[in-house]
């Protein structure tokens, strides 16, 4: 069992007897420090999607499916193709990548985990952190160096995240792929 707060894109959870792959997670803060977790799910039996909310501490049954370490190979619209150590290729539908798609770039070397259900690759879990280059960011307006003032930025691959105000175009930054948060400039 995991709490809703611990669920990540790529996890598969059981609800009412059906397996659902988590495509996207969004955690927000309600009153009195309580977390609200919004999940975008896809039913693996019916191939249908839904959005649902949980309290952060709600317990969810995550199921362990077959997983393989793979690297990203190429994109063949609408499939992302991954390859394992023995050069077997696996196609993953773009919509099943969820937020992981923000960090996929050509030539990336990080090892991802591809999850299989009923012999089919159904999701991809990124490493906890990745390093990406900032390709667009507004100029630093306030001269803030504390890291508390944030601004939107675009990273290689087109993903958009909020970064510290001092980050510039061309900087390489570390990102937490579980939350999409900027960690630091590297």
């Amino acid at each position: 069992m995991k709490t809703a707060h611990e669920i990540r894109p790529g996890n598969v959870i059981m609800l009412d007897g059906s397996p659902w792959v988590v495509q996207k997670t969004e955690t927000t803060r309600s009153g009195r420090n309580a977390a609200i977790v919004k999940l975008k799910l896809k039913n693996l039996l019916l191939n249908s999607g839904t959005e649902t909310t949980f309290k952060g501490e709600d317990k969810l049954e995550d199921i362990v499916l077959d997983r393989l370490d793979c690297t990203y190979s190429y994109f063949a619209d609408p499939m992302y193709v991954f390859m394992d150590a023995e050069y077997n290729q696996y196609d993953v539908e773009a919509e099943n990548l969820g937020d992981a798609a923000n960090y996929i770039v050509d030539g990336m070397e990080e090892t991802c985990q591809v999850t299989f259900y009923d012999g089919k690759a159904i999701s991809v879990e990124m490493p906890t952190t990745v390093v990406r280059e900032v390709i667009y960011a507004e100029p630093s307006a306030r001269g803030d160096t504390s890291g508390k003032v944030m601004k939107p930025a675009t990273i290689t691959g087109g993903g958009k995240i909020n970064v510290a105000d001092f980050v510039k175009v061309g900087d390489k930054i570390e990102i937490d792929t579980r939350t999409g948060e900027f960690k630091k400039r590297v």
Binding site: L15, E26, T28, G31, I36, T52, T53, K55
Partner: protein
């Protein structure tokens, strides 16, 4: 388990967390659902002693009693009376339903799924953008039950704001005659307040910002009466008190220069509304008094419930942004900065922005009058909630 008969009532469950906030909201909602929609309501509350502070007629030792058309039931484990599921179950502010209730929901789901009540989690109020995207979404439970998250909010895509249908008319009638406020002050044993004096109610958490404001008011040119109940606000003003807080009595006056502190008695919700309507400025906290201060159509400072990592400031800024949307920029800036400074106990900034603001300026007074009409956004929370249930 036997199959119990169903009724068309609603059950609202509330755990009391900080004395008056959660129970204040749920009590208002229960009354409104019962009185304006003629729906029988059972309000299950775990702490009747705290509840009795805002409903003085409540007997904290009685398991079941009825007020304003609402059955109030002491929520103890096991439940003091048999639970019969009605049309709707509301768990207020993410409280955990009793096992007895959850078991019955599951039994209904397994035997007669159409008879399962609509199960709602009434969440906290927030002005943040994400609320629209989460309001009304189902929460799929592992056992097949479905619960909906209902988010109050300030926009048409949220669950709305708690406001009784005749509240604004009552307020306007009250504020039209100055004699009403003077009579209320008299009833509350608040002596020596003249119609032209500035009267400020204070219902905040502890903060040194209060000490700063009191110092300003002491030295100001005009008489200021600060009305404060025994409680958390006074912990920041002990240097102005003649005795321990516990020894203060309602009606007691403490004079420092042009400032007179008055110790308020605890009041019921209707009297609290009238108090807010009667003051020139209200300093309020949490969620319930925050909303009532807006409906009072008077300037206010909101002391928001503090959260980890200063996240409450994100929520405060989200509200300030929408509240100031139609306000003159200079006033909006000062009012926002005053609220932010108050919430961060930045004493010199509180001092500066209070003096810059002039809380009785005409554009601000016009804005506070118009804001409740805009904020209701066609329908209040109870109306939207009843409609949501019909559509679910």
């Amino acid at each position: 388990m036997i199959n119990m008969p169903r009724a068309n009532h609603w059950d609202i469950f509330c755990t009391v967390v900080d004395n008056y906030g959660d129970i204040g909201v749920t009590w208002r909602l229960a009354k409104q659902i019962a009185n304006e929609y003629s729906i029988p309501v059972n309000l299950w509350v775990d702490d009747l002693a705290s509840f009795s502070h805002i409903l003085p007629a409540l007997n904290p030792f009685k398991k079941v009693q009825s007020f304003s058309g609402v059955n109030i039931i002491h929520w103890a484990e096991p439940l003091p009376i048999g639970f019969i599921a009605g049309d709707v179950i509301v768990e207020a502010f993410a409280c955990e339903l009793p096992e007895q209730v959850k078991n019955q929901l599951l039994h209904l789901h397994q035997t007669d799924p159409k008879s399962v009540p609509i199960w709602l989690n009434l969440e906290y109020l927030s002005a943040e953008d994400w609320v629209e995207g989460c309001h009304g979404l189902p929460s799929l439970q592992a056992n097949g039950l479905k619960k909906y998250f209902y988010f109050p909010g300030f926009t048409a895509k949220t669950g709305g704001l708690i406001c009784e249908q005749n509240l604004f008319a009552q307020r306007d009638a009250w504020q039209a005659d100055t004699a009403n406020k003077l009579q209320l002050f008299n009833e509350l044993n608040l002596k020596g307040i003249k119609a032209e004096d500035t009267v400020i109610s204070i219902f905040s958490y502890e903060t040194q910002a209060l000490a700063t404001l009191c110092e300003l008011w002491q030295q100001g040119a005009k008489k200021v009466h600060a009305l404060i109940p025994k409680g958390r606000s006074l912990h920041s003003l002990t240097h102005l008190l003649p005795c321990e807080i516990e020894a203060l009595v309602p009606g007691q006056k403490i004079v420092h220069g042009n400032l007179t502190l008055h110790i308020l008695p605890m009041t019921n919700q209707q009297s609290f509304d009238r108090l807010l309507w009667s003051c020139d400025i209200n300093i309020v906290r949490g969620e319930d008094s925050f909303m009532r201060a807006q409906w009072a159509a008077k300037p206010f400072i909101w002391h928001i419930y503090p959260q980890e990592d200063d996240y409450h400031l994100v929520k405060l800024e989200a509200f300030l942004k929408i509240y100031c949307d139609n306000l003159a920029p200079e006033i909006a800036e000062n009012w926002s900065k005053l609220n932010l400074a108050f919430n961060q106990a930045q004493q010199s900034a509180v001092d500066l922005h209070w003096q810059n603001l002039n809380p009785v300026s005409l554009p601000l007074l016009q804005h506070v009058k118009q804001w409740p009409i805009n904020a209701i956004n066609d329908a209040d929370l109870a109306t939207r909630l009843v409609q949501f249930v019909k559509n679910s």
